[in-house]
Subunit: 329 residues, 2 copies
């Protein structure tokens, strides 16, 4: 590896001059500049970011902690992050927890040790311990997807979105609306969406039968099972189902079709996420569009503000949503 000293020697200047040239700090004569550029050209010299960071404390790296690599929502969010951060010369260092809560904390430390300038966490849970560890770090930090006390975050309007969708179903004449959710340990998806459902039903004075509320996992198969259970166990069959994710909805769709029911005539169905999948299943799925890409962009802007110590407009950003009305309702 060729170093700044080597470049300096060959260009007959001191390393300070080379550094000044590279960073446009201080005076450098035209002759010196050209000699240095020539040497750099010849040698293919690239300054060590490592040495630079050690001295300046700026790494131009943002750590991103993700619950799962490769889900569509995550990908879109990371895409949004990258769009904004790349423009500012930042790169992303990935940390994939594979849904393990301990790893979240472990990675927090790992990222700190790498002197990342900021950390963005796409959380599924929000344990006490995690929040504590974050406060300790004293590194610009943003959570996306979950509301975390005293922490800048980008969240979705889960309750309102769910409520809106349920009310859309009600408008369409449905009174027996069922719900396929997930564990409430995922506050955003499990707890808040259920709250939205309950609120809407309550508001319209609609009763809910016990088996209309099912709890599933995050995969398609699980949505299928939940739907099966619901239909087999309910005294009265619902006429519409709200599933908390598109995947669950598609699992449910599979069962509904299999059971010989028509969508939407016998059973209306809605999901959440506006996944690509949702547009191409038959019938196309009515779903909530949560703008994950935008969430990533907002999170990126937030972390940039924090890094640059700008006055932060709001430390909680609540993102808008839209109902994507398709053929399944």
């Amino acid at each position: 590896m060729i170093t700044i000293k080597e470049v300096a020697k060959r260009a007959n200047v001191s390393s300070a001059t080379v550094s000044r040239m590279l960073n446009d700090s201080g005076y450098v004569s035209e002759e010196a500049r050209e000699r240095i550029l020539k040497v750099i050209e010849e040698t293919g010299y690239v300054p060590s970011e490592n040495a630079k960071s050690l001295r300046t404390k700026k790494t131009k790296v943002i750590g991103v902690i993700l619950p799962k690599l490769g889900s569509e929502t995550t990908s879109r969010m990371v895409n949004g992050l990258d769009r904004v951060l790349a423009a500012e010369g930042y790169q992303l260092l990935l940390a994939n927890t594979n849904l393990s809560a301990e790893k979240e904390i472990e990675f927090l430390k790992l990222l700190k040790s790498r002197d990342v300038e900021g950390i963005i966490l796409s959380a599924t849970n929000t344990s006490e311990q995690l929040v504590e560890e974050i406060q300790k770090l004293k590194i610009p930090f943003v959570v996306v997807g979950q509301d975390m006390p005293d922490t800048p975050s980008v969240v979705f309007n889960e309750i309102m979105a769910t409520q809106d969708m349920i009310e859309y179903l009600i408008e369409k004449g449905h009174e027996k609306v069922a719900f396929i959710g997930v564990s409430e340990s995922d506050r955003a998806v499990g707890l808040l969406r259920k709250k939205g459902y309950l609120a809407a039903m309550e508001k319209h004075g609609l009763p809910i039968e016990e088996h209309w509320i099912q709890t599933a996992f995050f995969d398609v198969e699980s949505g299928y099972q939940a739907m099966k259970n619901m239909i087999e166990e309910s005294a009265q069959r619902p006429t519409a189902v709200f599933a908390v994710t598109d995947r669950l909805a598609i699992g449910a769709m599979n069962y509904i079709k299999e059971a010989g029911l028509r969508i939407p005539e016998d059973m209306a169905l809605t999901g959440v996420g506006a996944s690509e999948l949702s547009q191409y299943v038959t019938p196309s799925l009515t779903t909530v569009d949560f703008q994950y890409n935008k969430a990533g962009q907002e999170a990126a802007n937030l972390i940039l503000s924090l890094i640059n110590q700008k006055n932060i407009p709001t430390s909680k950003i609540v993102l808008d949503y839209g109902l994507v009305k398709k053929d399944s309702v």
Copy 2:
């Protein structure tokens, strides 16, 4: 930020002793060890990876250059990478080119400057200049998805897979088989898959009409258009279509349905990628499963071998594939 010196001072030892303790190198007395651990516990000291890297030249970071964040194939590949590399304590530094060829080269330098221990490139094109730059770098390097001269790579058996699928269609009685491809500047997807198609048709002595070969882009809409053009312009309507990606196939599917043709009775359809989407469209899509996750894992293993200077078994790994036979044929 608390440093090793600070820890040393508080524990009443020298920084060398702290370092020895942390790295289990050399002797450290039980008393000293405990004092140091206590200080670390109290202060939350985390060693600076930056300083460490500067001295040792080991960063435990692998750079990953991707053509596009958030596509399903990419996600799966990155997932495979991460699985293997995380186990060895490596982290991934992302560089997203957004399909720009100049950026590929730019990022190569950027990653070098960050002293990554290896670079994995998921390429779409393989320009001369890129290959040259890579040779210059002298950093362990692996390409995945494209065959690159004199470079360790993980590739898919594009030709064979395509040929197999076409022959499967032929076995099923199809003689008029059409092809929706992409630009040949993408060697793997554009050129090789077309070769496989042509080879299979030739082998079985089947003629190909001009309009049966369409060239599209990578999105669903483009598949729709290609299918539309084909049906409107062909003298003889084909009875089967091979699309080089699932997305294109799904676009084509939309048009076929819209045109009032039945799948597979009037028109059989196949894709490539075994995307999640392919399983849930109606009818479910027959497709080629290319094991992108495995590709990531193999690439990771390859780069680890290169880093550790182990004897490299083969510098070209050709991955297996499978035909996923579903309802669209």
